[in-house]
């Protein structure tokens, strides 16, 4: 549904995106991870047609580049910024943006109602957005992004600042969208979200694609050994191993183990391994 091929973009002498190639299939959720300033936003901006790449190609399905109107009509974006009109109600926001996407008449009404149901805001459909909580606004932001039933949806940190209930609701909606066959690009800083929702993960840094695969494959390739934490006679010992059972047996043969825990390699381990532990601004 979305193909980026060797896409590059620079701002003056600063290279923001340096030859990224990736593809997202219908019914797939692709997680886009990277530290601040890694090039995620520039990549997404090019993917949705807000920026033109310096070189490389971007295709939305078989509709051509996203700068083409027909291609843009198949894209839905929920930006990190809540792009809503606070002075208008939830329903008015949906109807307005639906109209801008070319919907009208009964279809527009039906889609607005369906989207309100989708994000659980039907009861407050006529309330002004300014009265909503952060979580409600996030959900409405998602609803507006899908009101025109796009085939490609880009969600930029859609759960920032929301309560667990709203976050869970957003997760469920994303999974529903995937089940409907829509392609979703999901950027986040929360590794557990990516691990739970994404079929594949793309890790970018300094404008380059450092890894692109399923979570399991990435962990296998870059996660390194897990950590066995053993507590014995009041002292904790951390042992890096890929075979915790054998390691634990070996320790038990030498001394009594009071408690133990095994931390397998995770997406976060992979992320830090690929992007480093240096702080980013």
């Amino acid at each position: 549904m979305l193909q980026l091929h060797d896409v590059r973009k620079s701002y003056g002498s600063k290279v923001a995106v340096d030859g990224i190639s990736l593809a997202v299939a219908p019914g797939e959720v692709l997680g886009l991870l990277g530290p601040n300033g890694a090039g995620k936003t520039t990549t997404i901006s090019m993917a949705v047609g807000l920026l033109e790449p310096d070189s490389g190609t971007i295709e939305v399905g078989n509709l051509g580049p996203p700068t083409r109107r027909s291609a843009r009509a198949q894209i839905g974006v929920a930006t990190q910024m809540l792009a809503l009109y606070d002075e208008m109600s939830a329903l008015e926001n949906l109807v307005f943006f639906g109209r801008m996407q070319g919907l009208s008449g009964q279809r527009l009404s039906d889609r607005a109602s369906a989207c309100l149901d989708l994000v659980g805001l039907s009861d407050v459909a006529r309330d002004r957005v300014s009265t909503f909580s952060g979580g409600m606004k996030r959900r409405l932001n998602l609803a507006v992004a899908v009101v025109h039933e796009p085939r490609l949806i880009l969600l930029d940190e859609p759960t920032v600042g929301v309560d667990p209930q709203s976050r869970n609701a957003i997760f469920e909606r994303v999974l529903e969208l995937r089940a409907e066959g829509r392609a979703v690009v999901y950027t986040t800083h929360y590794m557990e979200e990516a691990q739970r929702l994404c079929d594949r993960i793309a890790i970018v840094d300094h404008g380059r694609l450092l890894g692109l695969d399923t979570v399991a494959a990435l962990v296998r390739a870059h996660g390194g050994p897990g950590v066995l934490v053993v507590s014995s006679q009041g002292a904790d010992e951390r042992i890096a191993t890929n075979d915790p059972v054998a390691a634990l047996a070996a320790i038990q043969s030498e001394r009594t183990v009071d408690t133990f825990r095994y931390d397998p390699p995770s997406l976060e381990t992979v992320f830090l391994e690929l992007t480093g532990r240096q702080l980013r601004d």
């Binding site: 807000l50 974006v77 792009a83 809503l84």
Partner: protein, 422 residues
């Protein structure tokens, strides 16, 4: 086009729901128009030269000297003209007033005890009350100066004595006080010999000049009341407010992210911006219509021509839509747009006569007033309401306004950026 109208409707809805914006767009101009209409009296300035159409029908040494005395003060610029030209200049706004020195003005300066004080006519634009008051003061000053000169010049006093006595003899000296006047006239030459050359006391109390007020514009063309002056200004301020509000609203949409969302829709940038323009234009028309109706039915402001008023209002609104577009691209962020927007509009208003009357401006600044759409807008609206402009006369300001608006709109469209840079 439907999308453009939906965009415009959204913007107007947002404006109506934003109470401060709604207040300042619709009620603030009304309040200003009513307030200034009520207290309209204008102000004065000491150092600005007033352009005055000067009709010297006497063409005597005395009348020429009077004009030179006035001009020497640097506060009045007399522009020679015939009476009809002078009236026309004031009506068109190219002169703040006209002065007519009728035949005999020069003689009256030397025969004031017989003919009475010299008389002149002062024609002023009814909208320039402060101008008229200031001019009257300057004319009286110049008249007093001439009078003082004649009373401190022994030769002039001797001439006044001779002419006065001749006139008394010719008139039979039968009126009450004739003897006293004869005695005074006989003592004038003696007074001339004894008074110090720098004037001094003893001559105060004589009337230096008689000024006859002449309404410049015929009654049917003049403003019905002060509200006919303040309401056009109120309309202009309302249009300026619309221009600023919608210019800022583009920056607001940019900063809140809705502009990006709109861009993601299958719309052209020109459609989105046209939506803003239509909203700005519609709101400006709504606000001016409110003022026109209020002025007509509550404050007695009856336009000379409804058709020309509509043309003037539409032209003004189109011009400021163009300015709105330019403001929206100059200020990329909300704060920058608000700051720059109002700064630009205030300067345009100031040099266009929206805040300070044009005649109070220094002469070097006056050519710049032509650059301000505010000047043309006020001229057009006043032209339709009470200046009695014809369609041909209205064409100049309206074409200037529409042309300016179109050029600025295109510049704004070209310079438009979806996202704030940096």
């Amino acid at each position: 086009m439907r999308q453009v109208l939906f965009l415009a409707a959204k913007d107007i809805r947002l404006l109506l729901r934003d109470r401060p914006s709604f207040f300042f767009t619709f009620f603030w101009p009304v309040m200003m128009a009513v307030f200034f209409g009520t207290i309209f009296s204008g102000g004065g300035a000491e150092d600005a030269a007033i352009r005055v159409a000067w009709v010297d029908e006497d063409a005597s040494a005395g009348s020429v000297a009077f004009a030179e005395t006035l001009a020497a003060r640097g506060q009045v610029v007399p522009v020679p003209a015939s009476r009809s030209e002078a009236e026309d200049m004031v009506r068109r706004g190219s002169a703040s007033a006209f002065v007519v020195l009728p035949a005999g003005f020069g003689d009256a300066q030397t025969q004031r005890f017989v003919t009475g004080a010299p008389k002149l006519q002062l024609g002023t634009d009814p909208s320039r009350k402060a101008d008229a008051a200031m001019l009257q003061g300057l004319l009286l000053q110049a008249g007093a100066e001439g009078m003082r000169a004649s009373f401190t010049d022994p030769q002039s006093l001797a001439e006044q004595s001779r002419a006065g006595l001749e006139a008394l003899d010719a008139g039979g000296s039968s009126f009450e006080g004739a003897d006293a006047l004869r005695t005074l006239l006989l003592t004038l030459p003696v007074l001339g010999q004894t008074l110090p050359q720098d004037g001094g006391a003893g001559v105060a109390g004589f009337e230096p000049l008689v000024i006859e007020d002449v309404p410049v514009v015929r009654a049917r063309r003049g403003p019905a009341n002060a509200f006919a002056i303040s309401f056009p200004a109120g309309m202009l301020w309302g249009i300026l407010g619309c221009s600023a509000s919608f210019g800022i609203s583009i920056a607001v949409e940019r900063s809140r992210g809705t502009l990006v969302r709109l861009r993601m829709a299958p719309l052209a940038a020109s459609q989105i911006l046209a939506g803003k323009a239509v909203a700005c234009f519609g709101t400006a028309l709504g606000m001016t219509t409110l003022l026109i109706l209020l002025g007509r039915f509550v404050f007695g402001v009856v336009p000379g021509s409804w058709g020309l008023l509509a043309l003037a209002v539409v032209s003004s609104a189109l011009c400021f839509v163009g300015i709105m577009m330019l403001l929206s691209v100059i200020g990329r962020t909300e704060r920058a747009a608000a700051g720059i927007g109002w700064a630009v509009l205030l300067v345009l208003s100031m040099i266009g006569g929206g805040m300070v009357p044009l005649f109070l401006m220094p002469s070097w600044l006056r050519p710049l007033t032509h650059l301000s759409p505010v000047k043309w807008s006020i001229l057009a609206i006043e032209g339709a309401i009470w200046r009695g402009f014809t369609l041909a006369e209205m064409a100049v300001p309206c074409l200037v306004l529409i042309g300016t608006g179109a050029v600025l709109f295109l510049i704004g469209l070209r310079a438009f950026r979806w996202q704030a840079e940096g």
